[in-house]
Amino acid sequence: MSLVETFFNWEVFVSSFPLLLSGLRVTISLGAVSIVAGLVLGLTIALIRLYGVRPAQLVARLFIDLFRSIPILVLLIVVYYALPFVGLNLSAFMSAALSLTLVSAAYTAEIFRAGIEAVPRGQFEASFALGLNYRQMMWDVILPQAVRIVIPPLTGNCINVIKDTALASVVAMPDLVKQATQAQALEANPTPLIAAAFMYIAILLPLVYLVGQMEKKSRRASAR
């Protein structure tokens, strides 16, 4: 068999394509849910970490450090295989989404904290001097500026989350990796794996490029 027939077999590709597509859908929805939930949770934790009462700040810090140091795969296995022992049965999707969200939230919280702290102190002072309260200051003045600062690192985090969705295949999630290995076994041919690899690249390459562009731009802006 030739190399092309082995790795780029058109017939195998066509027949496994529906399976791959369903896997891709799962991967994307898992990624999207985890990214959005991670953003909301991460921003909340960042605000608590910065402005909460002392004990709450400590809890937020613990959360951030904990979920940044645990490997996602370990977390996923604990959530999926260990939690049932205490009566908590989560579906594969829920387990994966929960694990990815917790880890993503921890990183997002650090990104937002750095972003908020990068907003000059004068912006806070001007807001207070005008009589804005905390919430108004955050929504109208600080966060819009922080968001600009954090978009490149947040996009980088999105890339990581999407990559990490691949780990969900170990808890039998029918995601892109899982479906690709399935199809490979079915067809006795590795073409679906190659196709899956290209699908990941097709999603992530533009994001990687985007981050590069944004970083170049912000370097230029700060050089000004």
Binding site: G122, A126, A129, L130, G131, N133, D140
Partner: protein, 245 residues
């Protein structure tokens, strides 16, 4: 009549360093008080205590219009009534000039967008830059930005305006346009406390000039009391050093 600002026994420490040392000062409605003094003498700290951008220690007390300034539910109300103009402008870079001015009136005073915008435009006219309303701060010169900052403070119709070296970060050719606006305000009866190194302005516009050194108000009086007739050696040394400059 109660003074619009009353400051009693005000002391402030940064760590062990005494930045304000038992300050007493009352400011009447309509008065313009200029605060001068060497770098590090506590001028900024003093006016930042008036709207509690700096906290101060017991038993010092500051009151605005009779309301004690402290960290309670009255604080944002007090800050609404005390406008502040900073050396570094501190405009909101993500908002247009007009939005910079109308934000607080909309959020704090609950004005409608139309009312706030209309008022913003008339204030811009007052400070002479109505044509810049839709630009962003970084598209303006320093002098224009500081005039926007003054308009932003005025938009809340404060009882007092505090200025912390409003012209110190401007190129020399722009100092005049900002001082002109401030002169107009002073004439129209706005109560102002101005930290400044512009001695000409202080002499011309101030009702009283306070000379600060090492956290104390060393001497306070009319411009001619201070500039022509200073009683304290420290004041005279400072002024002669400045004038020799």
């Amino acid at each position: 009549m109660t003074p619009v600002i009353s400051i009693n026994h005000l002391s402030k420490r940064f760590g062990t360093f005494l930045a304000l040392d038992n300050i007493d000062l009352n400011i009447e409605t309509g008065e313009v008080v200029c605060v001068i003094g060497p770098s590090g003498s506590g001028k900024s700290t003093l006016i930042r205590c008036i709207n509690l951008l700096e906290t101060f220690e017991h038993p010092g007390a500051v009151a605005v219009d009779g309301t004690p300034v402290k960290k309670d539910k009255n604080l944002t109300r007090i800050r609404e009534n005390v406008g502040m103009v900073f050396q570094s402008f501190n405009l909101f870079p993500h908002l247009t000039v007009c939005q910079n001015i109308s934000l607080a009136p909309m959020r704090v005073r609950k004005k409608t967008k139309n009312e706030a915008t209309e008022h913003a435009l008339s204030l811009l006219k007052q400070v002479g830059i109505e044509s810049q309303a839709d630009k962003y701060p970084d598209q303006l010169s320093g002098g224009q930005q500081q005039r926007v900052a003054i308009a932003r403070a005025l938009a809340m119709e404060p009882k007092v305006l505090l200025f912390d070296e409003p012209t110190s970060s401007l190129d020399p050719e722009m100092v005049g346009e900002v001082l002109d606006v401030m002169r107009q305000l002073a004439k129209s009866g706005v109560t102002m406390v101005v930290v400044t190194h512009e001695m000409g302005f202080a002499r011309e516009v101030a009702d009283r000039v306070a000379f600060m050194d090492k956290g104390k108000i060393v001497e306070i009086g009319t411009p001619s009391d201070i500039f022509d007739n200073a009683q304290e050696q420290r004041t005279r040394n400072f002024l002669s050093a400045i004038l020799a400059h």
